[in-house]
């Protein structure tokens, strides 16, 4: 790949992902300035390493992986991942039916977008990122596995825990609202 072709190809592939990368970065860092620094560093690293990118492979997973790895080595990233509960990710999860006693559909209908966003902020970053990649970026499990550099089984396990944590955060918010108004 020539340098010129490389750079032109990079723009075509990378710029349409700019909004998504920024949104993901802001969710990880929870701070606008840090998100901008993270995206800027991601583009710099990706441009520098674009020669090693294999055409035909998944560019989106490649550049998201760069962003995520850059985040993990940042001060905020190190602090965020230190607080993640240690659970075995290789053990298959026993999926439990979403309880009929927990009227989640009613809860979600009542909860505005801000409440869901607040609940998502409560979810540990290692689970929040997998939710964002699956439900917001609509990546396949394989793409997520490539982005996070983990096996697909781990992706499924983290997704399960992430959704469970999100439900718990929503329920917690609901209880707090009831206490406040009751």
């Amino acid at each position: 790949m020539s340098a010129h072709a490389s750079s032109a190809g990079f723009e075509e592939l990378a710029m349409p992902l700019f909004d998504s990368l920024y949104n993901f970065a802001h969710w990880l860092t929870q701070n606008r300035d840090e998100a901008e620094d993270l995206v800027q560093e991601t583009y710099a690293k990706a441009l520098k390493g674009f020669g090693s990118f294999q055409p035909g492979t998944n560019f989106r997973a490649w550049i998201f992986r760069i962003l995520r790895n850059t985040f993990l080595t940042s001060r905020t990233g190190l602090a965020a991942t230190r607080t993640v509960p240690l659970e075995s990710e290789d053990e298959p999860e026993q999926t439990v039916a979403v309880s009929h006693e927990t009227p989640e559909s009613i809860l979600l209908e009542q909860a505005g977008q801000q409440q869901v966003q607040a609940a998502l902020e409560q979810v540990p970053v290692i689970y929040r990122e997998v939710l964002l990649l699956c439900d917001v970026e609509e990546m396949s499990y394989q793409e997520i596995a490539d982005t996070l550099a983990v096996p697909i089984g781990t992706v499924m396990s983290r997704l399960y825990r992430a959704r469970k944590a999100l439900r718990a955060a929503l329920e917690e918010q609901d209880k707090m609202r009831e206490t406040k108004h009751g």
């Binding site: 340098a3 010129h4 750079s7 032109a8 990079f10 723009e11 990378a14 710029m15 349409p16 700019f18 909004d19 920024y22 949104n23 802001h26 969710w27 606008r32 998100a35 901008e36 995206v39 800027q40 583009y43 710099a44 441009l47 026993q94 999926t95 039916a97 979403v98 009929h100 989640e104 559909s105 979600l108 209908e109 909860a111 505005g112 977008q113 869901v116 966003q117 998502l120 939710l131 964002l132 699956c134 439900d135 917001v136 609509e138 396949s140 499990y141 499924m156 997704l159 399960y160 959704r163 999100l166 439900r167």
Partner: protein, 251 residues
């Protein structure tokens, strides 16, 4: 027993991660099992809420320009041949702007249609798909009074092959609207009516004809400040036929 097989796969089903054969098997199971279809509905609502809530942060225009400049400046060709490169940069910027604009519009329209598909499927999976059950438009239309910040007209149906089943209040991006359910033959068609907004009008231009989305057909138009979506798995002709009747009623 069947629940033990299918229930643990619900998340994979909703994430479209099952094989085609398993997807068909799950479809068949959900049609028969109220417990699993209720569970699937709740999981789908959580997934949809996450998708909407997750699209939260937008970069500033200044930051976008800064990154675009940096990416463009790294091009070796542009560094050495700056005059033609300037023209090329302008073209690239123009193309990028158009591409990003089109990408954004496509992505917005896909997001809206996916949300409508969720509403349609969730409605059909629900044991009570409509809150006002009546084939009489003079019963259904007044039911929405006080529930919606607008009113609308519904067509006369006798002799058309369409039957009004009823309606309920639905939310699209947290905006309330009317969700009406019609039957034609063995098919169910959802009609959604919301207040029109410029951002919706932009991604569903007036010239648009019937589209195909996730195996559904959908027709959309805006009139009198309202936005209509006619959505279902019926044939394009059936969707267009009901759309024509609604357009006539609305004029």
């Amino acid at each position: 027993m069947a629940d033990d097989i299918w229930q643990p796969k619900l998340d994979q089903y909703l994430d479209s991660e099952l094989s085609a054969e398993e997807m068909r098997g799950m479809d068949a199971h959900l049609r028969e099992c109220a417990s699993c279809s209720g569970d699937a509905l709740r999981r789908m609502q959580l997934k949809r809420a996450t998708r909407l809530a997750g699209q939260r942060y937008t970069p500033s225009a200044e930051f976008r320009r800064r990154i675009e400049r940096k990416v463009a400046a790294k091009s070796p060709a542009r560094r050495w041949l700056w005059i033609p490169a300037l023209a090329m940069a302008a073209v690239v910027l123009l193309v990028a702007t158009i591409t990003v604009g089109r990408w954004y519009e496509r992505s917005r329209s896909e997001q809206l249609l996916a949300e409508l598909a969720d509403l349609h499927v969730a409605d059909l999976a629900s044991p009570t798909p409509v809150d006002v059950v009546s084939s009489d438009r003079h019963t259904v239309k007044p039911w929405f009074q006080g529930k919606l910040p607008f009113t609308f007209d519904l067509p006369e149906l006798p002799g058309t092959g369409y039957t009004l089943v009823g309606g309920r209040v639905a939310y699209l991006e947290h905006e309330p609207g009317a969700h009406l359910l019609y039957d034609v033959g063995a098919h169910h068609i959802s009609v959604f009516i919301f207040r029109d907004r410029p951002e919706i009008e932009r991604v569903f231009p007036a010239r648009d004809s019937t589209r195909r989305v996730l195996s559904f057909h959908v027709e959309s138009w805006g009139t009198g400040g309202l936005r209509y979506f006619v959505f279902g798995d019926a044939s394009p002709e059936a969707i267009q036929g009901l759309s024509r009747l609604l357009k006539q009623a609305g004029t």
